[in-house]
Each structure stands twice: as C-alpha cells, then as structure tokens.
C-alpha cells in the first residue's frame, strides 16, 4: 500500500529521495507515514521538524507543514512551535549526530520538561552527509573516516539517555522490523509527554563499508539476526546483549506535560481571557 501512502502523505514531485541505494531511512520514513495514517492525523494539525543530516532531509518529502532547521536544533525549534500552539502535533525527525551530539543538550532538556514532542531518531551509527565520520552512536572500536585506527569513544544508548533525562516514553525499532517500528511510533505519537523512538537504520555506503558489514540486504539480515525483543532481553544476562539491538517499548510513565502545566500558569496569572 506504499503507493497510497505516497499519494496521500508525500510530496511526489520530490521523489525519488536523495538517500543512497540501500539506505534504511526510506523504510523508517514509511513507518512514520504509516503511523500517521493509522492514527488519522490531520495534516493541518501536524508539523514535522528536522535538523541537518541525511535523516533530516526526510521532512522535505512529507506533505505537511515541514520545518527543516539548523544542525542539532530541531528539538529546540519544535519546542517553540509546541509552546506557541500546544494544540499542534509536533514530530521531530532527526539523526544520531543531530540529536545526540550537537543537539544532545536540547534532547535532555526537552526530556526534562516532558514537553509533548515525538522524536524519531534515525540512527545510522555514522555521519553520512559529511562522508562517514564517527557519531556518538558508533560502537567503540568501529571504523570511520575519523577513526581510521578504530574508535575509542564509547557510544550513547539514546533511549536510556532520554529516559534518564526524564522522557516519559522511549522505544527502539529497526529498519528490518518495519511493522513493529510503526506501532512504536504510533504509541509515541499518542503518548502525552516527551517521547523518543530510536530507529536503527542502515548505512551501507559509509558505516557498512567501513566496517565490512556487507551490502544493504546483509545489513538488514544482521538486524533480523541480532535484534532481541525487550521482553526476552530482560531475562538475559548483560553479556548476552553485548552487540545486540534490544527493540520494543523500553520505558513508559506518566508525568505532568509541560504545555499543559503552562496553561495552568496562564490561568493563574489571569491571562486565559485574553
């Protein structure tokens, strides 16, 4: 049914997309659109915001109000939109470098506020747009153009980072597990509060080639064979999860949402009649 989704939600004139052959971003973007379709979100009430990088180009293909911002700042721009018009659904599409390196401060502070944004992080474990430098999610020891001897930087677990900072919904999906990932994105959009869905995607062009992971199909097969559902992972010893992808809903709780709390402040200050 991809064609119906394309017709309904995407800017056909701008397709095909700019991503490399074998890039997993297209699969994730389809998951996002499928989630939006399943939830019957109104186009005029939904805004997509992105930063800079391969994944952030995604918003250009979406037939919504779309804001393609500066590197790392998508969540901060989205915060302004949500504060100014809390009735809008605001969905951020971002990458691992965008969200966890240059934009890491905005990620944790938006999580701390529990502002109702849905952040979909397309994690390809590398800086693709600039040609294959290591990112904050490149596994330690892996190769990139700036770790020619293997990386010594430990990597971030983005959902764990967001949870520690106060996010009230976190999940992880993969490009391979498209149906499950769609459901996770749906749940994140429905959740009132700050939600983060890390979508592990594939970059055969840079990450795959630098680390001998094979072609796109082999990388997706690797995801199939190395992803562990969260319920199963909870019963496994830590060593068994080394180098694996734990996917599913990782964390969910309820805390007061930021713009709802601010509405109460407006009421208290007497500004509601305005």
């Amino acid at each position: 049914m991809a064609s119906r989704l394309i017709e309904r939600y995407m800017r056909g004139a701008y397709l095909p997309h700019i991503w490399c052959a074998g890039c997993g971003n297209g699969i994730i973007l389809r998951d996002v659109v499928q989630a939006v379709d399943n939830l019957r979100l109104e186009k005029r009430d939904t805004v997509f915001v992105s930063g800079i990088g391969c994944s952030s180009r995604a918003v250009g293909y979406l037939d919504f109000d779309t804001l393609h911002t500066t590197h790392g700042r998508a969540i901060a721009f989205a915060t302004g939109i949500k504060m100014a018009r809390p009735e809008l659904k605001v969905i951020v599409l971002t990458g691992d470098g965008d969200a966890a390196a240059i934009g890491g401060n905005h990620l944790i502070h938006a999580a701390r506020r529990n502002i109702d944004l849905t952040v979909v992080v397309l994690n390809n474990n590398i800086y693709g747009m600039t040609g294959g430098q290591f990112s904050p999610t490149t596994p330690i020891g892996d190769f990139s153009t700036t770790t020619p001897y293997g990386g010594i930087d430990p990597d971030f677990d983005i959902p764990a980072l967001a949870q520690a900072a106060g996010a009230t919904y976190t999940a992880r999906g993969t490009a391979y597990h498209a149906a499950q990932t769609t459901k996770l994105i749906e749940a994140a959009i429905l959740h009132e509060g700050f939600s983060v869905v890390e979508c592990v995607t594939t970059c055969p062009t840079y990450y795959g080639r630098k680390n001998h992971r094979g072609n796109a199909v082999e990388m997706l097969k690797w995801q199939r064979d190395n992803a562990i559902p969260v319920a199963q992972a909870r019963n496994l010893p830590r060593e068994a999860l080394e180098g694996k992808i734990v996917y599913g809903e990782l964390w969910r709780c309820q805390r007061p949402e930021y713009t709802r709390q601010y509405a109460a402040i407006i009421e208290r200050a007497g500004g509601k009649k305005q």
Partner: protein, 380 residues
C-alpha cells in the same frame, strides 16, 4: 493621542512593555547579565496576557524556539548579551534566509569573551550587522533612553513582521539599567503591524514567490493548512532546496533588496544643531546622551557643533550623514568601542571631512566633560 500611563521603568523593562504593546506573545531566553530583567519581566507579564515564556537550556535553543513560535504566527522575542548573542548567530542567519520575523535584544556588555559582564559597551555594533555567516539582511536599532527603548521595540516588531527579517534591538547596559519615566501607549495605539499572509492557490504552490512589485513573501503561518516547507538551505519559490545558481541569485538579492527598497521606512536618526555646524559628533545609544550634554555645553561657549545620532544603526543612514559630510570640517565619532561606527563614518565621508574617534574599551562610559574636551580640541 489618548492619555497613556506614565511609569518609572528601566530600559530593559521598557523593552518588555513595548514588546507586549506590539503584540509579542512568546519569549524564549537564557539568563545573562545585563539583559536578565527582560526575561524576568516576560516570565511575569506574558502569562497575564495569555502569552508564553520559556527559559531554554542555552541561547542556541532560545533563538531556535523563537523562530519556531514565529513560524506558527506568534510574535516572538529573545534577549541576551554578548556571549549569548554570539551563540544565537547561526539561527539569526536562519531567520534571515527563511524570512521568519523575530526580535532579538542584545544588551551589550564590555567584552570580548566573558569580558566585564556588568559594564557598559557598544562593542557589538559590527557583530549585530555581520555576526552571522553569509550575505544576509538585518535591521539594527539602538535606543538611547528608556522611553525610546519602548517606542523602538514596537517599531522593531513592525519592521520585522512587515519585512520578514530579524530585527536586533541593540541596547547598552547604560540604557538597559537606567530608570526613567516612560509613557506607555494604549494597546490599540501601540499595536505593531502584522505580517502579511495569503492563502490562495499560488501560496500553496509557491509560498516564497512575491507578488509583482513586492519584495516580501506572504507566508501563511504553519498549522493553517498551507502545508509547505521552510528550510535554511537556499531554496526556490516553492520553499525547497535548490542548487540552481539563478534561483540562489534571485533569493539572495531579493532578501537584501527588500531592506534597500524600504530604506525610507527603516531609517531613523536624530540631527541636532546641525544647521550651521562646523563640527559634528556622531554617536548612538546611551553614549549619545553624554554627547548631547557636551554639544549643548559647547554651543553655550559659541562652538558651532552638532550631533548626528543614528537610531536605526543598520542599515547605516548614509544618505543623511553624507549630506553632513559635505558641509562640516570635522566629525568626531564617540562610541564605547575601538572604532566600529567610525569605520562606517569614514566610508561615508570618503575624505570629504576629517574623521576623529573618541572611543573607550575599558567598561567605563564617556562623560560629557571628556566629549566637550574633544570638541574643543577639534574646533580649535
């Protein structure tokens, strides 16, 4: 004019009241001396009028949030000082290229770097114009009293909304923390112009296209069904990234021309005792108060000296100053920096008169006595 309220406010407070009168309903900021009172008063006042305040994690985020709020049609402002102003520059450039209205208040402090946080300076004059990368338009306004801060903040919103350009309100600590009587207007009188929007078929197709004879696109706010793209990449009329040299040329020229073509509306300056002056003192912001006192005193001594004070400091009022350069023998530029506006004055003077500089970079202000001495020396 209906009877307004008169309050004792310092310059930073006057900025907030001006912004509220202009219809500002969103503020994002990060605490920094000597601008913090602006955030504090916004935190108190905005919810009273149904607006929203947020303290962000840094100035990068503050500027981003302001643009986000403006994209959905809410008049938005931030305030900062030197170090924070530096951090905001990238997103100010975004607002310039994507044509998102916003007002940025920079209450200057002595620098560079962390500098002297509580001391006055006018060292951000060039940064306000050239701080962000690439060729971009900007409007910069520098008031010299709390009352002027109030009115010029309203005008900053009008210019920003109508021309869809970031407007910098370049304050200095002297004005920001100076308490004076401020006449407030009724909201109905004060309301700044709103941005123009359209929602016809062409807008949906080409949101960045301008109507014949116009220079400013009439983008409708997000959330109203227009469904278009905004990007910091060079874009075509449809709002999508392009690598077309023609489209890039058209866009970059248009955003600069929209300022040039509206120069008359943007330009504002004060000219005092210039009719028969042989010496002109050029000054702006809080420093101009000391200059005016010195010029008045010098006139008392029979010295033919006048004051030229740009209020809109960018674009620089070169036509008005150019006429002066052809008439006077000497110009003294008095400013709290190492000679930033002097460079502009020299460019405009182009050798037609002598240009002297009275500057200060130590966190102290210029006094009327020092300026009077400089006038006497130049006048001979």
């Amino acid at each position: 004019m209906a009877e307004g309220r008169r309050l004792l406010l310092h310059g930073n407070e006057a900025v907030v009241e001006g912004a509220l009168a202009a219809g500002m309903r969103f503020f994002a900021g990060y605490p920094i001396t000597p601008s913090t009172e602006i955030a504090e008063r916004c935190a108190l006042r905005l919810p009273q009028v149904g607006g929203r305040f947020i303290q962000m994690e840094d100035e990068l985020a503050s500027m981003a949030a302001v643009i986000g709020a403006s994209v959905v049609g809410v008049k938005a402002m931030t305030a900062t000082s030197g170090p924070g102003f530096s951090l905001m520059q990238e997103n100010i450039g975004y607002a310039a290229l994507a044509e998102i209205p916003c007002v940025i208040v920079d209450v200057q402090r002595a620098g560079p770097s962390t500098g002297m946080p509580t001391s006055p300076s006018q060292g951000d004059y060039m940064q306000a114009r050239w701080g962000t990368h690439g060729d971009h338009p900007i409007i910069v306004i520098s008031p010299s009293s709390a009352q002027e801060a109030y009115f010029e903040t309203i005008r900053a919103f009008t210019l920003s909304e109508r021309l869809r350009v970031p407007v910098i309100l370049l304050m200095d600590e002297t004005v920001g923390h100076l308490r004076e009587g401020v006449e407030l207007l009724d909201a109905s009188e004060a309301a700044a112009s709103d941005r123009l929007a359209r929602d016809d078929a062409e807008q949906a197709e080409k949101p960045y296209a301008v109507l014949p004879g116009e220079y400013v696109p009439r983008l409708s706010p997000f959330g109203q069904g227009a469904l278009y793209n905004i990007t910091g990449l060079i874009h075509d009329d449809r709002g999508f990234p392009t690598s077309s040299k023609e489209a890039a040329d058209r866009l970059c020229r248009r955003i600069m021309e929209k300022i040039a073509m509206n120069a008359g509306e943007i330009e504002r300056y004060e000219s005092r005792h210039m009719e028969d002056a042989q010496v002109c003192v050029v000054s702006f912001g809080g420093t101009a108060r000391a200059v005016q006192a010195a010029v008045d005193a010098a006139r008392g001594d029979g010295i033919r000296v006048g004051l030229f004070r740009p209020i809109t400091v960018w674009p620089f009022p070169e036509a008005a100053l150019g006429r002066i350069c052809g008439r006077v023998r000497d110009i003294v530029v008095a400013e709290l920096n190492g000679g930033q506006m002097k460079m502009e004055v020299e460019r405009v003077a182009a050798g037609r008169c002598r240009v002297h500089h009275l500057g200060r970079v130590n966190g102290a202000i210029l006094t009327p006595g020092e300026i009077l001495a400089a006038i006497r020396e130049v006048a001979g």
